[in-house]
Symmetry: C3
């Protein structure tokens, strides 16, 4: 049996805001977020909050960040969103406190049911728990929870949940070691 | 023995159109394709056809798409070219009907012979057969044919042909399962 | 124990130039480098040298290249920096002669100590030795030396040194074969 994309129908998808709000966000995003110039961080955080995002204290948004729907985004305290990060949040994305989302990481909430002849859209939320680190160019797939203080290594792809404190690598990412955080290392700073 | 790039010579490479046409395409591409703003899909399809591409009915071209040579591109009916897709088609690229090329996927036709002291350019066509899905940030290498209804998973790299209905993952991508399309799933929509 | 990014402190990091020079570079980079339009190669090479880079004869810089600190960059003779390459050189990056850094490859010198409660910044230099090839969308991690004439395959991630003439693939990249450069292949050109 084959797929027929002419029958695709995402009318049931909830965008969460009116088209007017969406266009307004696109304009604001183009002015403040989607280019490589440095913009005052407080302005970006304020814009996100104005469009419905929850953003904690001390959160840092670097240049070139792409956010689909700010009204489906929660960012904790002292979270870092790195240069060129893409949050394609068709569903809710929750980014915990003290997290680091590094350069060009990609959080994607949209998927398709490839067993369905109409290629039905499936969306699922992403949760990045407190203290986790999504390294550069890593990808977090729809529905994944990255456990507290877990690490997703550079260029790796998380297709299922990562346990807390797991250091994971590869495509698909598998656990390689466990993150141990100690006071001993402070002496090296 | 070592490589000597000062001896590199791609004079034999056929770009397919005059420099004037190429510059005109760059301008059109910059105006209609290569930015993040929404542009009327019919205008983009018309521009591709004007520059020699074959584009089917119902094809959708999202923002930020990069196409090297439209005159070396064929897109079928109801094919989707996702946001930020890069079609680096130094050779012919054929994208079948009812295909989905997701966000930032990369179809690359250019390679080098690394056994050659002059690092000779090698180009080879890519074929994405009907119903296939190239998921987000996946890469299809020169000369690869992605079989009908095959799936290349998120961030995976196809370095050799994918069999029809194969679901492939990893770098290099290997078959993980077989895609089965059924009417049963329609009830879930 | 958990990480506390409010205690993060990178005051010890040496940027290498004053803020004025950095802003000037950002402007020049925006004008000459960071867009998709073709710019005279000699102008780009001259700008890099003006900002402290060492650039050899015959080096080619394609459009869309991102360089963090030109004063921490050395490029050899007849080296190619491909479209959209990102050299995030918080530490020194040395790119040898007759090297090819292909499209959207990423050389990243910044890391964090994830065992440290303050998530201490760690930077380490990258060396790409003569004749090596970093293929499209590949990633070279901090501190890695890519040996002479080694090849890092498309989309692969080098997390440790690659031996000379090794052909490496995957995430993490492992050696798959050895590069042999012969005069025999010249007949095929």
């Amino acid at each position: 049996m084959s797929v027929d994309l002419s029958r695709y129908d995402n009318a049931g998808f909830q965008r969460g805001r009116s088209a007017v709000v969406e266009v307004a966000w696109m304009l604001v995003s183009g002015l403040l977020f989607r280019h490589s110039l440095a913009v005052w961080n407080g302005g970006k955080v304020g814009a996100l909050r104005l469009f419905g995002a929850t953003v904690g204290e001390g959160a840092v948004i670097k240049p070139g960040v792409r956010i689909k729907f700010p009204w489906k985004l929660r960012i904790g305290d002292h979270a870092w969103i790195g240069e060129g990060v893409w949050i394609d949040n068709l569903a809710d994305v929750t980014i915990g406190s003290h997290t680091c989302i590094s350069q060009e990481a990609f959080l994607v909430c949209g998927n398709h049911d490839y067993t369905d002849p109409t290629f039905r859209l499936r969306t699922a939320p992403i949760v990045i728990e407190d203290g986790a680190w999504i390294a550069a160019r890593a990808i977090v797939c729809p529905g994944v929870t990255v456990g507290s203080h877990a690490v997703l290594a550079v260029g790796s792809v998380a297709v299922s949940d990562l346990p807390p404190f797991a250091v994971c690598q590869g495509n698909p990412a598998v656990q390689k070691t466990t993150r141990r955080i100690g006071t001993a290392s402070e002496g090296r700073a």
